[in-house]
């Protein structure tokens, strides 16, 4: 929760393009974002909004047909966007930025014991060998909440349950001693009870190892639990960014409203649940103005013509919508949401 910290990673005017069958798709459309040291940032958006692409670009893991077209990714006085060779990326990948992926079933090697898989990283990134590496591996296993570590060390991934495998994946990520940990939908494949455990584990580890974490998710419940700050993405752009409570209870962008309104928790039984009309835009075509405008009931004329700038709501809260322009007509968020906002304010008072 330390906002006073300096940015550990800065993304500036980033544009990422993919070439698919001779056509060019603009996956990230001019994004700027700061990641602060020690914070926990959640990137929220639908599938295809570019949240995974954005994070993959930080690790140099873009697919072959994708490239960074413009912009900078500044980390440790280096511009990662200029990296061309694998050798350059190896100094970042794992060592500085590590990743926990969605599906623990596919991210482990089924032919190696889990101990060996962790030790591999310990050896590579901490330059430990033999007994020292073994001890470090056991310590990591304990840290991610696995009991009976000597026995577990010798077991294969298929002998573990989904939640346990995700713990192993986290241990491998930690073995690299990263500064930044990216969690891409870390609990989507898991049951709710296991999900709660893994999220708690990630929170504890963040404290213990002094990590900066980035969560990529579409589950707003998960976000509420783990994030200090939220960036909402739509069609390759960040439309709103702010502290967690600011986005939840004082959101300004109509897309943020729509996203929260469509939660079943906000619906009342027997009535229609709010749903966003239409489909996300085709990123092969050039997007004019606010990408959300065609689905937005509050869209102004200018939304179809010019891309809105970031309007400042508070020191930490920015939203990209013309509704915040002083000249714009005053618009109230949907009714169901106003109740939700009021509830949030009540909680804010109490705490």
């Amino acid at each position: 929760m330390t906002q006073t910290n300096s940015p550990i990673l800065t993304i500036q005017n980033l544009v990422i393009k993919f070439t698919l069958r001779g056509r060019v798709l603009m996956a990230i459309r001019n994004i700027s974002l700061d990641l602060y040291k020690g914070e926990s940032l959640a990137i929220v958006g639908e599938s295809g909004s570019g949240k995974s692409v954005l994070m993959k670009s930080i690790m140099g893991l873009l697919d072959k047909n994708g490239h960074i077209d413009q912009g900078q990714i500044l980390y440790n006085n280096q511009d990662l966007a200029q990296f061309r060779t694998e050798r350059e990326w190896l100094s970042i990948r794992g060592k500085e930025v590590a990743m926990v992926t969605q599906d623990p079933m596919t991210s482990l090697n089924p032919l190696k014991t889990i101990g060996k898989q962790i030790e591999e990283c310990v050896h590579l990134h901490q330059s430990l060998k033999g007994k020292a590496a073994y001890e470090e591996t056991l310590k990591l296993l304990k840290d991610v909440g696995i009991y009976d570590v000597e026995k577990r060390y010798k077991q294969y991934p298929h002998e573990f349950s989904g939640g346990m495998r995700q713990r192993i994946v986290i241990a491998i990520a930690l073995a690299c001693k990263p500064k930044i940990l990216i969690c891409d939908e870390p609990t989507t494949a898991l049951d709710v009870t296991i999900q709660a455990q893994i999220l708690q584990l990630l929170k504890n580890l963040q404290q213990k190892y002094g990590l900066t974490t980035v969560y990529i998710t579409h589950d707003l419940g998960v976000v509420a639990k783990v994030a200090d700050r939220i960036a909402v993405m739509y069609a390759g752009d960040i439309v709103e960014v702010g502290k967690t409570h600011e986005i939840f209870f004082n959101g300004k962008h109509p897309y943020t409203w729509a996203l929260i309104s469509s939660l079943p928790q906000l619906g009342s039984k027997g009535q229609q649940l709010y749903s966003i009309k239409g489909t996300p835009p085709n990123l092969f075509q050039e997007i004019k103005g606010d990408a959300f405008a065609p689905r937005n009931q509050y869209a102004l004329k200018i939304d179809f013509v010019e891309r809105p700038p970031f309007f400042q709501v508070s020191d930490t809260h920015y939203a990209r919508t013309w509704l915040l322009d002083p000249l714009a007509p005053k618009v109230e968020p949907p009714e169901a949401l106003q109740e939700f906002f009021a509830e949030g304010r009540r909680y804010a008072h109490e705490s």
């Binding site: 049951d191 509420a224 079943p264 649940l273």
Partner: protein, 315 residues
Amino acid sequence: MSHKDVLVEVKNLKVVFGKGKNKFIAIDDVSFDIFKGETFGLVGESGSGKTTIGRAIMRINEVREGQILYHGKKLNGKISKEWDREITQKIQMIFQDPMASLNERAKVDYIISEGLINTKNIKNEADRQQKVRNALLNVGLLPEFSSRFPHEFSGGQRQRIGIARALVMEPEFIIADEPISALDVSIRAQVLNLLANLQQQNDLTYLFIAHDLSVVRFITDRTAVIYKGKIVELAETEKLFTNPIHPYTRALLSAVPEPNPYKERDKVVEIYDPSQHRYDIQPPSFFEIEEGHFVLANEEELERYRTSLKMEVSK
């Protein structure tokens, strides 16, 4: 609720996979009723057996013991040909993954009418086309889509095709197995609304199998919580969510993250420890603790649950 007609009765259902040493009891002595016109939710973790119950009603999984009655008539085991044909048409299923459940090589037109062709439920070609057309319109798709292949559609649209395929059979009862868990948040709301509308229009009864409890709370009338092949608690959905009794239900509900950062920050997740039950001394059975609210317990636990329930109510 209790005055309603019972549509499906599941009595002491037991489903077993494997034989001898490899025997695995997937469903153990499960009983519940589904009333006509309601949405009955079945929640539990993966491996708890919720899908197996759905599949047993669909007659995909063999029933080892107990029986399933539909309109009071037995559905499992040996049944007459006419009855078999009737329930094949009346009970339909919607699957979880719209990417995997549609035939990639068939056009939408064929996918939707396959059931009609198999049950010889069409008079002529014009009738078939009309039915496909109506089914597509009902789920909010354009009739022109019938000449396309599944890969040309988005996830939400595919799920609509899956729903249209079930609807075209004019079913009474639909088993929806995690119908929205593969979909995006905004699409999810659309499909939930669609299911609710269709229920009203066509007088449908749903068995809604899911692990997402917030969705279950929104859409179902009654909910059963299943743990390791046994139903541990069953009640009207609102009652279950506000007054959970069984420790497993409590743990499950406490683990659901809520979209409220203030609440989430202070929340303590309850952990369920199955060893707290002394079922070796006194085996449990399924008790009705208050009207329409059932819980799996033995005598001693029941006493405890009763007092805690009284305290809750008096609060």
